[in-house]
Structures are given as C-alpha cells and as structure tokens.
Symmetry: none
Subunit: 233 residues, 2 copies
Amino acid sequence: MDNTFLQNKKLLLVDDEPELLEMVTAILSDEGFGNIVTAVSVKEGISAVQNEKPDLAILDVMLPDGDGFSLMQQLRTFSDMPVIFLTAKDEAADRLSGLGLGADDYIAKPFLPQELLFRIYAVLRRCYKEDTPFINLDGCTIDFGRAEVHKAGKTIPLTAKEHIFLETLARSEGRIVTVDTLCEALWGDNPFGYENSLNAHVRRIREKIEADPSNPVSLITVKGLGYKLNTRK
Amino acid sequence: MDNTFLQNKKLLLVDDEPELLEMVTAILSDEGFGNIVTAVSVKEGISAVQNEKPDLAILDVMLPDGDGFSLMQQLRTFSDMPVIFLTAKDEAADRLSGLGLGADDYIAKPFLPQELLFRIYAVLRRCYKEDTPFINLDGCTIDFGRAEVHKAGKTIPLTAKEHIFLETLARSEGRIVTVDTLCEALWGDNPFGYENSLNAHVRRIREKIEADPSNPVSLITVKGLGYKLNTRK
DNA sequence: CACAGCCTTACTTTTACCTTACTTTTTTGC
DNA sequence: GCAAAAAAGTAAGGTAAAAGTAAGGCTGTG
C-alpha cells in the first residue's frame, strides 16, 4: 500500500508535555511527514486549527486549560476535520467519551511508534482517499501530481485552471458538482460572470481527456445541475 | 451527532464462535443495524463479501481455516471495503499486523458494547460521509447526488426540475406535499400558472421511476391535496 | 349524466449549453 | 525588460434536450 501521498498532509499535535511533543514529532518526521504543527493548550489548539488549517488533529486528553474533549467540541463547531485522541490512562470511560464525540480513533499511552503511524495512516487514508494522485477515466488517466493526462500513449499537460477543475470534480467522484461550486473553486470569493469562461475550459478539457470531445463519456454535463466526472474503477 | 443514516449499511461479521456472533449481532440489532450478515470461516467470509457486498467487515483474527489477516489480504485483491479486526488477545504484534495491512481499526476482546458501536460508527462515518443521499422506492432507487434513477439494471438520468420535484417529495417522505409547495419549489417566487406543467413533469417522472407509469405505486396523487412519495424500507 | 380533477400525448417554445474564433492577460525565455 | 508563447477570458451563433402548452380523454362523484 502506497501511503506516501498522505505524508504531505498537515498534522496538528496538541499536548502539554514537551518531551512527548518532541518524541511524536520525531517519529512523524522520520516517517516522512513534513508538515507538523504543535500546540500546548486548548486555546493554542483552537487558534492553530483556525490559522493553520491542518488535515488531522492529534489531541492529548489532559491539557492545562481544559481537556481534549472540550477542545474537540469547540473544533466541531466550525470544522469536521478528523481527530485522534492520545491519552495517558487507558480507561474505558475516556475511550467512550472520545469516540462518542465523534473522534476517529483513540490511542492509549504508552504506544508503539508503529501503531501511532498505522492509525494515522488509517484515518488519513479514509478521509482523503479521493486525493489520490491518479485517477483512471475511460480512455485515459490523469496524473494530478504532474498535472498530465495520459491518453493513447501521449502525454498532454494540464493548465492550472484545468487542474483545479478536474480535482474538484474528482474529489466528489461521480457525483454532480454544481457550476457555482466549480466557479468558486476556480475564481474564489467573487466567482461571478465566469460561466462562459467555464464553458471554454470544459471544451478544452474535453479535447484533452475525451476520445470524442463532442460526445463526452467522462466529463458529463447534467443540464441545469452541473457537471460530473465518470471514473473508471 | 446523527449516525442513523449509517444504520442501513450492511455489516459482515466473521467469527467461528457462535455465542460471540450471537452477542454481537444482538448488540448491533439493538442499536438499529438491520442488515447483518455472518460467516464462520475464511472461505465463507470471502464468498459472503462477493455475494452480499457488505459495507464493512468485522473479522475475528482466529478462524478455523486460516486467520483474519489472510482473509483481509484476499479481500484486498478485489475490494477496498473498510475492515475492523476483533481479537481475543490484545497483543501489540497482532494490532500491528492488522493495522499494517490497512485495517481501519482494531478492537481487543473483551470489549464494551458501546466501544464496538462507536468504533463501527467512526469507521463508517469516515468511509461513507460523502455518500450521496439516495432513497429506495418500490422497483427502483433514486440517487440524488448523481441525479439518476436505477431501475431494472438501467440507469436513467433525471433532469433539473425532476430532481427538485423528487427531492421535495423525498424530504417529507410519505407525507402529502401540496401542489402549491411543489410549484414553489420548482418555480420560486411566482409559482402560478404552472399546474399543467407540473402534470407533465409528474408523467415524465413516473415513466422513469414506475414499472407501470399509468398505475403508479411510488409517486401517488392524492386528489385535491397533492402528491406523496411512497418509500420502501 | 355532468362536472371536476387529473391523465396522457403530441406539439411548441425556451433555455442552457456547445462550439468556434477571436481578444486579452499572464507566463516564459532570452 | 521585452517579445513570443501559452493560458485564460469573451462573444456570437447554433443546437438539442428540457420545459411548457394545449387539447382531448379518462374516472370517480354528486
């Protein structure tokens, strides 16, 4: 199983013991995670989530100014990021409060480095499996890492906008993505007046990924609703 | 947190101890899971996955004709369904083999029923949170995320108006929705003079979702009041 | 039997999207 | 910093699918 694409996810670690922070950070860096943020309190944790927007939070249950559970509850008011709890005491009551709140996993100290890593991978994999760097379409494959389309032996480069467009569609594999959502992904806060430009991009993308751009089989328009990307498993 | 939508997921339980199968099945049924399949060996497990296509597998590590790990490895050759291991001995080595293979979680016996449930929810939520909402009707299912009807193996696309119409009805499943409400959902602020057009849509929708459009069983008219959508299950 | 309310079907209109060529903007290489 | 190339955006005419319209036909009710 190739998990390397998960290593560029940003991890947030909240614990008040400096040695533990250091140890875990070391384990994670060794493994290849290059994007680790730490915090030592509930307060710091909250602002770290808001400012850094990590992809996964690993929270100690015991914190100086509260506990990991209340930190998580506060998080949940504005984010549904995955959360793993870390705790000194392996008590059933604690496990249940954490999992009951909707945590994704729970690890009791002391833990083996390998177990921590595996659990992190398991959670990340499930949460971000759509971020895989490759997808297969009917007559071609898209390599998001390289921003390339491979079709009939040829390699066709994708432009920036095309890349975002396809990524947005790929993230909700097969389901309809509205024009509004796409415009927002492409043009940000003020995504108005670009509908026509979107059309032009659709055409150009079809020329790259479809065998017959005028009769698309992968990038499908759903009149009045949006577009969808048919992936081939 | 509302997890009820996860309770119609199909669970596969593989264990060779009848009492444990029975106990876990009882826990799950009590909780509201209505779709539980069991198997007692690696061989049975494999064929259960192929025939029943469950959404989650809960595997005992010890099985008469092999172990849960090899069962999982065989599964992985044709499915990436989520897997939770269940084991008598809580040994680190076991945990690591399971998680290392890409299992989603690992529960040591004896476990608290609550913990089992929470971990099942955590895994299901993670894996199916983006599931498109869909509903089952008498002879077909409607996939709203894809705007498609699946009937007798065929996939029939829904148009924008049909989509809104069905969504409006589905939202108050089974109850009567007035013509006024429907018109407002379809034509917004000034929903007058469209009653006839609504009729036409009703007909077209029935052609898509009913076995016999002239004798509807799902999309029912309630004379003088409106329409209702009979859902199954 | 007459009427109301809905069904059915064929037909017309409309709208959302396609297509293409062209213009403007951004990026790249020298 | 400039010119060339690439990417992105704009505009206009075309088209087919979707929506709307209308007319005649059922069916149950008073």
